[in-house]
């Protein structure tokens, strides 16, 4: 297991099994958190749009395992998983979903708009692909300040058709900016399959015209994601410019809560769940390799469930924002 060795070599004191268990736990935390969010939505405690990340957990968890403190992360509205993986607190995320003062944006941003300067998470953006130039700008900042940071900029398979993506690619390649464009190809942009939206479906090759290398990755395999992530993060850190990583993944739930998902068959969803689930796949590896027992995995499940239950409790007990908050945070007092 090359990655695990590398981690040891990098003077990480952890044993390989610890690394794998952490990947497992981080993915499971996202899964359970999203299930909880779905329930709270059903109870009317969360309003508006709520886009769940279930099925795609390996992408962010694998990449965050490869990233370093000081790297920056930016994504779209399907963002809860990214927040948790950068280390944001489940309570604060859930309380933002319920629009309470204890939320990361004091309840003013909601599901699609959260930020944490502390963990390097730069949102949380509702306009498809708008985060791509922004992420490119974060990378510009890393290079300008020479802080060795890299920006991980996430976008969907639908977002890749927006013009501003290519304007960004050109600048990033031209100026060799330290940015990893992670295309989370979950096969659909809302109800439109990649085939119906994209003339070329090899999304990792979208940087070809700018000389940006591209790699297609099994985004359901967290170890593969981590391995590829390490390689290209190092590449970007060395000043060699951007890369496009196309993560082949899948979203289990509807686009948002009100999507009846009639554009795909139930069999399609259950097949991925049964054969490629990122969490089940890793669990099997852990059990087969005798790196964990059924009981120790259950124990992890209990731990993350507790976190999610507490987050859900907090998200209901935290008070609504003070009415005066309506008029704050519009401009910085100068």
């Amino acid at each position: 297991m090359a990655i695990a060795k590398k981690q040891v070599a990098k003077a990480a004191p952890k044993a390989p099994a610890d690394n794998l268990l952490k990947l497992y736990r981080d993915m499971l935390l996202i899964r359970r958190f999203e299930e909880k969010a779905g329930q709270l939505y059903g109870m009317g405690l969360i309003g508006g749009f709520c886009h769940l990340y279930i099925g795609q957990e390996a992408v962010i968890v694998g990449l965050m395992a490869a990233a370093r403190p000081g790297d920056s992360v930016i994504t779209s509205y399907r963002d809860h998983g990214h927040m948790l993986a950068t280390g944001m607190d489940a309570k604060g995320v859930m309380a933002e979903l319920t629009g309470r003062s204890g939320g990361y944006s004091k309840g003013k941003g909601g599901s699609m708009h959260m930020f944490s300067r502390e963990t390097g998470f730069f949102g949380g953006h509702g306009i498809v692909a708008a985060q791509v130039p922004l992420g490119t700008g974060l990378a510009f900042g890393h290079k300008y300040r020479e802080d060795q940071g890299v920006c991980l900029c996430f976008l969907g398979d639908g977002a890749v058709n927006q013009g501003q993506v290519y304007e960004s690619f050109n600048m990033a390649a031209l100026w060799k900016l330290p940015v990893i464009y992670v295309v989370e190809n979950n096969k659909y942009g809302m109800g439109t399959s990649v085939e119906r939206a994209s003339a070329s479906t090899e999304l990792h090759r979208r940087g070809d015209a700018y000389g940006i290398p591209g790699v297609a990755v099994d985004g359901m395999d967290v170890l593969e994601v981590e391995k590829v992530g390490r390689k290209w993060l190092a590449h970007a850190r060395e000043g060699k410019g951007p890369v496009v990583l196309e993560m082949k993944t899948y979203r289990y739930r509807g686009h948002s809560m009100s999507d009846p998902a009639k554009y795909r068959t139930k069999e399609e969803v259950s097949k991925v769940r049964a054969e490629h689930d990122p969490i089940d796949t890793l669990a099997k590896k852990l059990l087969d390799g005798k790196l964990a027992t059924e009981d120790s995995l259950k124990e992890i499940d209990r731990e993350v469930k507790d976190i999610c239950t507490q987050a859900a409790d907090f998200s209901q007990s935290s008070p609504e924002p003070d009415l005066a908050e309506l008029y704050t945070d519009i401009l910085v007092e100068a």
Binding site: E35, G38, Q39, Y41, G42, M43, G44, G47, G48, F49, E96, G99, R100, S105, K106, G107, K108, G109, G110, S111, M112, H113, H125, G126, I127, V128, A129, G158, A159, N161, Q162, G163, G189, M190, G191, T192, R196, A197, S198, G254, M257, S258, P260, K262, Y263, R273, E320, P321, L323, E325, L326, Y327, I330
Partner: protein, 459 residues
């Protein structure tokens, strides 16, 4: 204790729904993720998944029940180790309600779905033909279908307008009738397809470009303003651009700052564009048809919250609402209220309330924001001597600011009080429920403004 299965909310606007059918029977083992039942929301039929493992112990609300309120217990799950006797221990008050659903549905079917109380619009005098009761959503769809039947150059383009039948189901059935040549699903590329539409219009076609919501038109605003609006002028009158940009505008529900704002003032600002904002089904159908026939670029600002509201709608393929004319929805002598889109309903509601205080408000449904029917507004103000403007958007350089200037200019001597504007607050839209409510106009704010211009104290 058995776990209660609660009626879920499956869309931002859902308060109740139909429990279409159960896919599990009492006694069936269930696993988290299994589909338990099908629920019909205001938009679609959705599947409801189990969140827990166990056995479906009891069904509390049978399949077919309509008007089931969100959060009503609809079933009970026995968890590991529990037997049936546990079911009888569950006695919550809400459950008692839910347990007699067999009789309940009939009653709730008969009662009309709850709606904002609205006065029926007075149909234009010129129209005496047949009408039918339709939702705004259906009226918009029929407007497009009729014009597409009429003119082979009209086509519809946008995200999810075809196979998905419209993100808000406005284009339902159009792909079936007109085929993929004329009902075109685009990639998510607003600037690209808006510009492509403008080019197609230069070439003589008549595109209807749908923005999934107007928030996304900001991606394309350069093509709308610089290419669609200005080319006739720049070409000395040679190059026309007959195109419609339409979609839901304004605040929806709890979708936060990037997904809820009003573009009325943005587009009405620009010479070379026409801008309309329908409220009723009649407005929606008549204005959209007029927009499609118009030889100019027309922005049609719809509203998601109105899509499900029903009105009497003219049922005649020749019916249109002329762009540039307002409509007096309610006559009154005490004060004039101008409004457009969803705010018309709110103005009418306020007018009914104020009538009880002896204030008779004249409510003008602007319908068209550019050109603005200044004649109707000025005439009304000359009669009432008082004006309150109402809009959901921001106050700064808003539609109300424009109307105030017009009235200063043309009816200054008739005013008995300064014009008052009721608008959305001057802030990005917050997500939190309590703040969102505060950010938008409501009946109380409108009533307070009306009382103020009438120099009446708070009732």
């Amino acid at each position: 204790m058995p776990i209660q299965i609660l009626m879920p909310a499956l869309s931002p606007t859902m308060t109740e729904g139909k429990l279409s059918r159960w896919l599990k029977a009492e006694g069936d083992a269930i696993k988290s993720g299994d589909v338990l039942a099908e629920i019909e929301t205001d938009k679609a039929t959705m599947e409801m998944e189990a969140a827990d493992d166990g056995i479906l112990g009891r069904i509390l609300v049978p399949g077919g029940a309509e008007g089931v309120k969100v959060n009503t217990p609809i079933g009970l799950i026995l968890t590991e180790g529990e037997d049936k006797s546990a079911l009888d221990k569950v006695t919550s008050p809400s459950q008692a309600q839910a347990q007699t659903p067999a009789a309940a549905p009939a009653a709730s079917v008969a009662a009309p779905a709850p709606q904002a109380p609205v006065a029926q619009p007075i149909l234009q005098k010129s129209y005496n033909g047949p009408t039918k009761r339709q939702t705004v959503r259906e009226a918009l769809r029929d407007a497009m279908a009729e014009e597409m039947r009429n003119d082979p150059n009209v086509f519809l383009m946008g995200e999810e307008v075809g196979q998905y039948q419209g993100a808000y189901k406005v284009s339902q059935g159009l792909l079936d009738e007109f085929g993929p040549k004329r009902v075109i699903d685009t990639p998510i590329t607003e600037m690209g397809f808006a510009g492509l539409g403008v080019g197609a219009a230069f070439g003589g076609l008549k595109p209807i470009v749908e923005f999934m919501t107007f928030n996304f038109s900001m991606q394309a605003i350069d093509q709308i303003v610089n290419s669609a609006a200005k080319t006739l002028y720049m070409s000395g009158g040679q190059q026309r651009c007959s195109i419609v940009f339409r979609g839901p505008n304004g605040a929806a529900s709890r979708v936060a700052a990037q997904h809820s704002q009003c573009y009325a003032s943005w587009y009405a600002h620009c010479p070379g564009l026409k801008v309309v904002a329908p409220w009723s089904g009649e407005d929606a159908k008549g204005l959209l048809k007029a927009a499609i026939r118009d030889p100019n670029p027309v922005i049609v600002l719809e509203n998601e919250m109105l899509y499900g509201q029903s009105f009497e709608v003219p049922d005649d393929p020749d019916f249109t609402v002329p762009i540039g004319l307002a409509k007096i929805e309610r006559a009154g002598a005490s004060v004039t209220i101008t409004a457009f889109s969803r705010m018309v309903g709110m103005a009418l509601e306020t007018a009914e309330l104020l009538a009880k205080e002896g204030i008779e408000a004249e409510v003008i449904n602007l319908r068209s924001l550019r050109p603005l029917d200044t004649a109707t507004i000025v005439e009304s103000v000359k009669k009432t001597n008082r004006l309150v403007t109402l809009e959901e958007g921001w106050p700064y350089a808003g539609i109300g600011a424009e109307i105030s200037a017009v009235v200063m200019d043309q009816a200054f001597d008739w005013l008995d009080a300064p014009v008052m504007r009721v608008t959305g607050e001057d802030v990005p839209m917050p997500y939190a429920a309590n703040l969102e409510k505060l950010a938008l106009p409501d009946v109380a704010k409108i009533a307070a403004a009306v009382r103020a211009v009438c120099y009446r104290g708070q009732k």
